[in-house]
Symmetry: C2
Subunit: 251 residues, 2 copies
């Protein structure tokens, strides 16, 4: 059995994923959004907790404020729809409190972890569904540049974390697919391969070529260099304080 | 435009997702696994960090040990392939250290969060790809029942977290699709809907019917009751200690 024989339309679309940062200003039809939501909700959920909420930011001014925080103005303001995905234990808190039970189980690191995983599964399902319809997407992690402000703007209750935005629309232009890390760097068998980074030189050549020749924002760099530059200083150092304010004890 | 017109094969498959816990003991062909890995790697990645590793647990004894920890013996031991997905900053740590740079940026809560998101995007892409081929999957969060032991068994380095397992194979039997929370509970517009939980009664009726009538493990309960029972006590309280041992400061 070769790759051609097991290939299908779903996987074909996945393999050409590239984030879109240039959309037509055409709002998605309600039916399309309904189907995207159903796809998101169809994902697996740890012990069926469904620990996420999705907020459609339709108001133009509100969206502009969140776009500004995220530093992604162009493709958050001009798009088909913009969602904020929220890791969310507030529902369960209400259920427990209605029974006079302690909500301690919702506060620890494990609880936060499963909510982040649940939320991401839903978002990635929505992503794949959107791309299967010919739409483009971009995750907007930049909303965490000021998590407190985003939480305030969206009126978020305790035990929630605005994890990322997701902008979805008809692509105006598409970016080239970025070359991924070699299989040997990602996959190992029966244990972690501590030697997997001994040679990134081929990958750095590939990525240097990609960065030098892509249609937009060409630059002279490679993957290792990008990582080194990007990780010089810790990012978003207020996240722990925000989480504690939201009631996550992280213990 | 109605739902039928925008429906496609990709979304059709997503909407009937149910975790599979009963597989045929037929190892997946190498080409299938290669394609699943490519699909996983094709997902979006925050600032292209690709902060995950995937470990195929092929050794029968090793798999048995991890299955026992996870409490999912049947469908981890008898399956097509079993992977452990690892949130992983170790690659970047090596790059930074080769340049005598501090790895502080890899240790905080933000860094851990993006690695968990990246890892989950990859896993959900693999999931959708597997299901598009007619395979079944089950996430195995149970590996976090003893994260330290799993890390030891898989020889994991610092700045890694074994996040979950993913078991993939040909289904022997399939479960019914669980009814998801009503749209009004998941989706809101322009801000969090604090009233969204005022009426879970219809959903609790739906889920009571599901639990009472499903093919396996029938029980008398509903969603709120399940959540209340499940969340009586905090789970996996050693996760923070494990993360700190791994070098995550969570600050």
């Amino acid at each position: 059995m070769n790759e051609k024989k097991i290939m299908n339309q779903t996987i074909e679309k996945m393999l050409v994923h590239a984030s879109v940062r240039d959309f037509k200003a055409e709002p998605l039809p309600a039916q399309t959004k309904d189907l995207l939501l159903k796809a998101a909700q169809s994902g697996a959920s740890s012990n069926f907790i469904q620990a996420y909420s999705i907020i459609e930011v339709a108001d133009v001014n509100l969206r502009r404020e969140i776009a500004k925080i995220s530093g992604s103005d162009a493709y958050v303001n001009q798009t088909g729809v913009f969602y904020v995905f929220v890791a969310d234990w507030y529902r369960q808190a209400q259920i427990l409190r209605a029974e006079n039970k302690d909500v301690k189980a919702l506060r620890n690191m494990e609880a936060l972890t499963v909510a982040i995983v649940d939320t991401t599964i839903a978002a990635q399902n929505m992503t794949v569904a959107a791309e299967s319809m010919g739409l483009g997407i971009c995750y907007i992690g930049g909303i965490r540049n000021d998590t407190s402000k985003v939480a305030e703007l969206l009126n978020l209750p305790e035990l929630t974390l605005p994890l990322f935005g997701l902008t979805i629309g008809l692509p105006n232009s598409r970016n080239e697919v970025k070359p991924r890390l070699p299989k040997a760097n990602i996959l190992s068998v029966n244990g972690y391969n501590h030697e997997s980074l001994t040679d990134l030189s081929t990958y750095n050549e590939q990525t240097a070529e990609y960065y030098a020749n892509r249609s937009h924002h060409q630059k002279s760099t490679n993957w290792s260099q990008e990582m080194s530059d990007f990780l010089t200083n810790p990012r978003r150092e207020d996240l722990t304080d925000f989480l504690k304010k939201q009631g996550f004890t992280l213990d």
